[in-house]
Amino acid sequence: MASSRDDFIIAIRSAFLKKSTQQKFSLLTLVFISIFIILLSSLDFKAVRYLKAGLSELVYRSSFIVSIPENFIKNSYQNAMEYSTFFNRYQKNKDELENFKSNFVSNEIIRYENQELKVLIDDYISSSNKILAKIIVDHDSPFLKSIIINKGSKDDIKIGTNIYDQSYLVGRVIEVNYKTSRVLLLSDLNSNVPVTIAPQNIQAIVTGTGDNYGQIKYIRSGLAEELIDESIVYTSGTGAIFKSGVPIGKLRSNSIDPSNRYNVEFYSDFTQLKYVYAEIITQIEIPSIDQNIFMTEEKIDEFSEAKLKILEDELKIIEETNIKFMEENENLITEINQLNNKISILNNKIFSQKQKINQFNIDTQELEFLKLNLEYGHKCRKSFLNTDGFNLGTEGYKSCVLNKGRIDG
């Protein structure tokens, strides 16, 4: 027994401490170094932060280069899948673009109105500048949903910077290096976004699931019943982590999990991201009206001019739409006339065919009468011997012949 325990201790000691000829460090040293680094990471020491930032710069670039072959295979696979639905998506996108063009004008008006109102309440103006960033590392890890972009503190990216795919929110920056940053996607388990659900105007928190959809959490009891399919989910701006009014996704009913009736289907497909926009926000304080009234007036003029321009654009679009409608109306009138003509021709045809059918029926009856007259006429005709009979051409004679010579009554 003692010998067996000794063997175990010797084996363990040997495993921890013995270095073979090729090894420069014993495993015990490496374990201690690892634990030391973990401890420093958890305490968030400045030195470790800098070490990590430096290491990240190097590693992300290397990872980008090393991933080229895999990315090539991945892209080829995705392209092949995309080509199969290419035309249908093109048609759908074309229609959507037309709608968006008209909606865009209205949005611009609202935006300018919003700025105008902010000036009036002596607030600040947030001027945002979206910069395009390329995704250099996109490993869809099952444990952490994050991407690395090629913009960092050099480009004014900060921790918390909102990241977009077109106008849709995809996540926020959680780690900034000099020329790269890590973005935590909305689908990550650790992501929590305060949202508003429209049109019910319900406040909630959307958390990631580690999958390509989100879950609604922390909703007031009773309000969950008001949720409906296809409701729009956008950021509420609560907590000032995310900008308000940014679309995230829409509600989709979930039949599998009864405790969570609705999931949030993100507008953006996080697995297909290649480029994203990072929003650099700078807040400009508006000087008070008393101090600089002329400047404010100038700004108001500026807004009014911009608004006027937008309104002119809108008018132009409306005029163009009207012309299109008028053209369509004329075409429809011509079509209606043509159809009316066709209807009258068809009515004439029907009338003549009906006449023919009537004539045919009369002829058939006449023929039947003549046939029966030949056979039973003598029984119905009034004569010396047949005093009950009828005179020729009378209704009684006709009915007698049709009754095959039977005289009723």
């Binding site: 170094i33 973990i38 958890s42 991945k74 995705q78």
Partner: protein, 168 residues
């Protein structure tokens, strides 16, 4: 003469292949995730480290394994040192089994591998949830452990061919 030199450098590169593969795999993290197979992921570095440290492969330096762990943490976004600790613990486990084994058996190694990766993943999960307040799906860990265990035997066959090539 030139041909001999080329052959020599190729042979050198061939003997360093496992460690190169380890660095490529941690930087690239290839696991076929883009196929969007919901329940499929595996940890290739675990297989690689377990096999080559078990065989005490001459160019498979523990220090390189440690650095590979640091790179893996940076790429995945985990706190620095977690993967290094995991990889070093695999090295310890293989050093232990090598010391106590007289007659190696691949099936026994396979099941020992399952025990080791389960233990290490549990330790990872504990550290990340307790000390770093990470939210992690336990199912993902279980799926990852299962597929890593199942694929070990396939990679074992490939690596055996490689070892045969190196020894020849």
């Amino acid at each position: 003469m030139a041909s001999l030199k080329t052959k020599k450098s190729f042979s050198k590169l061939y003997t360093w292949l496992p460690i190169i593969l380890l660095f490529v795999s941690v930087l690239n993290e290839f696991d076929f995730n883009y196929l969007n197979l919901e329940y499929f992921s595996f940890n290739f570095p675990f297989i690689l480290i377990f096999f080559f440290t078990l065989k005490d492969f001459k160019h498979f330096d523990y220090l390189f394994v440690f650095f590979a762990g640091l790179l893996n943490d940076t790429v995945i976004g985990l706190p620095l040192g977690i993967s290094s600790l995991s990889y070093t613990l695999i090295c310890i486990a293989t050093a232990y089994i090598r010391n106590i084994t007289i007659r190696p058996n691949p099936i026994k190694d396979w099941f020992y591998f399952l025990f080791v990766i389960t233990l290490i993943n549990s330790l990872n999960y504990t550290i990340l949830t307790l000390f770093f307040s990470y939210e992690i799906i336990l199912t993902s860990y279980l799926v990852n452990t299962t597929f890593t265990f199942l694929l070990y035997i396939i990679f074992l066959t490939i690596f055996k061919y490689y070892m045969k090539g190196v020894n020849d």
